[in-house]
Structure formats: structure tokens, C-alpha cells
Symmetry: C2
Subunit: 239 residues, 2 copies
DNA sequence: CTAGTTATGGTCAAATAGACCAAAACACAT
DNA sequence: ATGTGTTTTGGTCTATTTGACCATAACTAG
């Protein structure tokens, strides 16, 4: 829908093209209110179709790499980032995704830590945008980002995704800010603290963060296996 | 793994082939203890690789059909079944999936009602098997079935998937048997009843099932929209 | 030393889940 | 006709969880 189906018969001749794209999420401390918010990098299209519109980073699937490797590679090439988390999102293959050629996109989604996101190069053709207010993107990429956001929100409530936004040591308030940024609502500090401390895989250190103008918070460490990601029988390395 | 990687370089030349497969679940009343159990149809491979092994039904993606349409079509062609539920499972694209050629499979999973499953043709090359005790299947299809089972169990606990195994009217005991077959454990009838009646989208009729040698159970009806399937921003028609 | 802010610990009531009990309603055998 | 066995249906009780809320601790800035 949205695109006239005049040349469906033409497109039907060509074999579907296979591409890999990635939705990359990072937290950036918004200058406005000082709280972290969700951002993502997009690349400007230099060719038709959708020339000059922003799109998800990605590219074709090389014959000698797995799907996840292809996602990591195209992510590395376009944005220079190395993800702390990478998971398949969905395979999009609607007939009207591209007006030129039938295209099947296997989309991944990724998280990067703030230190990584800090050294991400922003060029003429690579820009960062707030995930909650995006313009019209190329192809069906608005829908894809919405779906990735939905998955991220679901995963953060369940699993241990939040720590992939953070460094090795963190305060409980930082974890809470991740949740608040992802879920889009404020959480009660005391209740949040109680819940986090009831979960395993999170242990307290002897260190505190000094220098704030208030009571110094304790630092914690995440000890859960990175593989324990609630993906069922699919481990990380298995496709 | 398991297959020698002698000809990786050869395979690397050819473009990845794109196929659609489907894991189809149906409940069959097991002759042994009279309770329904999970079954799925498989097709026998008549060609190499994995000749004579059982495999998931599927086929190549035609250029003029969407992914979901391709899944429904190949499902229809191989087993003659029409699913009551159909959802994308995962895209598998490991390098060693097929010893002959690099292949990317976008896998769907489906549910069929018992009346549909009853008229499913069982031929020399199409057989039905219990989902919990499968032999060695072709390719990585054992892993795929395991993953589909995991997703099914998760969905049944959350959403309203169970009714896609049942007809338009059903007793609460039938719903409970679906849960028990999927989850693999017995549930307390009274507690299960209380939970179901607390959910919306399920209304009682005035009819009862007569003929049993016990108190006749009331028939219920599911009134929830078939679209309300907890797939986030992805509606049924979208991919 | 005081005010402001966050961290941390705690209470309380509502909602939920699980174990369990008991009566109702049928078929069947005697 | 009457009891027996089975399943349905309604109910209670307790432990656990969730969210709202309060209070104190510990720091900095003035």
C-alpha cells in the first residue's frame, strides 16, 4: 500500500534480492533535560529509490558470511560501531517494499554502550536521531524501527538487556534510567531497587560514586552470562 | 557442525538461495492415554542432500508472493492444510546448513484445528510425527522444531493462541488440555478455570456437552479479534 | 550549619498464583 | 432406586508479588 502497483508484473520476473539491515540503539544524554534517551544512527541514501531519505544501515548478504556476521559487518562499515548485543528482529519481504525491485530484508537489532556510541562518527551521510520522533524514512523502515522499539521494550522488561547499554560497573539509578528511557515512563526508585536486588546475576561492589551533590550511590556489577538472553534454543552463535 | 567444511570456498561463489519452510503444529488425541498431544507433518526428501530423511515442508520463494503467502502456499501444497494461525518464526542462514549450497530459510510456524488435521492426507512422502520425539531430520530442522516449540509454549502462556487449536465452541477442559499438551504438565482444573474466566474475550454460551458419564460441561466461545495476537506493530497482513 | 537532593530501607494494601476442599450433575452398575 | 465414580464448578486459604508511599541516611553547596 502507498505505492502504486503498476509494475508488479515486471518485478515478478526478477529474483528477490536479499539484504541485511540493522536497527542500532544507543542511549545519549539529551541536552534538554539531562536524562538519557534512545537514539539510532541512520544513513542517507545516495541513490534511487528514496534518494536523500534516511535509511537503516545495511547491505547485501555476502555468500561466505552468516546472517549475524553480515549484520555486524554492515553495522561496522557504515557506523564504525561494535554492538554489545545483536539479535535478529524479523524478515521483511512484502511485495511493495521497494518500488524498483523485490527485496527481502533480514533485519537485526543491536545495542551499543555509551562509550562506543560516543566515538561514532557523524558525517554528511551518517546521522543520529531520536528514536521516538523520526521523519519519513526510506522503504518501510519506519515500521521496522517501530517493531524494533517494541521488541526492545519487551526484552528490557523481561531479560537482562539493560546492562548492554551500560559499562561493567553502574549504579542502580543508571539501570533505572535505562528502563525509563526505553519504557518511556518514570519508575519509583525504591520499588525498582527492590526488584533489581531480588534478581540474581547482579552483585554489589565495595565502590561508591563520589562527587555528586548528594549521597554517593553504590556501584554494582552484572555477573550473568551474556548468553542467558532468553532466546530459547537459539544461542548466540547459532544464527 | 557435523558436516565437513571441505567445500566452503566452492559454496562461497554461489548466491545464497532463499527458501520458505513452515513448522505446522496440530493436536491429535493420542491412542495411548487418550489425551491430545502435539504432532507435526513432515515430508520425505526425495533428493540429495539428506535423501530419505524427513524435513519441514517448504519450498523456494516465488517472486510474486509475500513471505507469509509463500508459507501458506507451500503448506497447502505439501500437506493440503489450511492454518488457523501463521506467524514468522526466524530466518536461518548459517553457512553449514546445507552441504551442497548456501541456503537461507525463512521459517514460519502454524497451527491447524483438529478438523483440518483430520483430513490431512498421509502418503508415502508425507508423515505425521509426535513433536516431542523426533528422529534425526534433514538440515538443521531439529533445531528449528525445537525453537518453534519454545515459541509455541511462550505464546500459549501469554496470548490467545490456544483457541487456534480448537473449534468455535469448546469446553474449558478442552482449553486446559491444549495448555497441558503444549506445556507438558498438568494444570489444576479449578485454578485454570478461574484464570480463564478472568480474561476477556471468552464468553459462555447456553449450550452444554451432553453424553459424557459425568457432569455436562458448558460450552464457551472465543470473541477476541484474531488480530490481537501480541505481535506488536506487526499486524497479520503486514508480512 | 542549613537546605536541597539522591540513596536506601521500610510499611501497607491490592492483586495474583498455587494448594486444596466441597458440592453439583451426570452415566453406569448393581 | 440407589450408590459409585468421574468431571465440572464454586469456594477458601496462604504465600508471593506489585505499586504507592513514607522516612531516614549521606552527601554538596551555600
Amino acid at each position: 500500500m502507498g505505492i502504486g502497483s503498476a509494475n508488479v508484473s515486471e518485478r515478478a520476473q526478477q529474483p528477490p534480492e536479499l539484504a541485511i539491515s540493522t536497527v542500532i540503539f544507543a542511549l545519549r544524554t539529551d541536552a534538554g533535560h539531562g536524562r538519557p534517551t534512545l537514539w539510532l544512527p541512520l544513513v542517507r541514501r545516495t541513490r534511487q529509490p528514496f534518494r536523500d531519505l534516511w535509511a537503516l544501515p545495511g547491505g547485501p548478504l555476502s555468500a561466505a558470511e552468516s546472517l549475524q556476521d553480515a549484520a555486524a559487518r554492515s553495522l561496522q562499515e557504515t557506523t564504525g560501531l561494535q554492538p554489545s548485543y545483536l539479535e535478529q528482529l524479523y524478515a521483511f519481504g512484502g511485495l511493495d517494499r521497494s518500488p524498483v525491485q523485490r527485496m527481502v530484508s533480514i533485519v537485526y537489532w543491536a545495542l551499543v554502550r555509551p562509550d562506543e556510541a560516543a566515538l561514532a562518527r557523524e558525517t554528511e551521510n551518517v546521522g543520529w536521531f531520536r528514536a521516538d520522533c523520526l521523519d519519513r524514512l526510506a522503504f518501510d523502515h519506519n515500521l521496522i524501527v517501530d517493531y524494533a522499539l517494541w521488541r526492545l521494550r519487551n526484552k528490557v522488561e523481561y531479560g537482562s538487556i539493560a546492562y548492554d547499554f551500560l559499562g561493567p560497573k553502574f549504579t542502580l539509578a543508571q539501570v533505572r534510567e535505562v528502563y525509563e528511557a526505553v519504557l518511556g515512563r518514570k519508575l519509583d526508585p525504591a520499588n525498582f531497587r527492590r526488584q533489581l536486588r531480588s534478581t540474581p546475576d547482579i552483585e554489589e561492589t565495595d565502590e561508591y560514586v563520589q562527587g555528586g551533590r548528594h549521597r554517593p550511590p553504590r556501584l554494582y556489577r552484572y555477573t550473568g552470562a551474556a548468553a542467558q538472553r532468553n532466546n530459547g534454543p537459539l544461542s548466540q552463535t547459532v544464527e
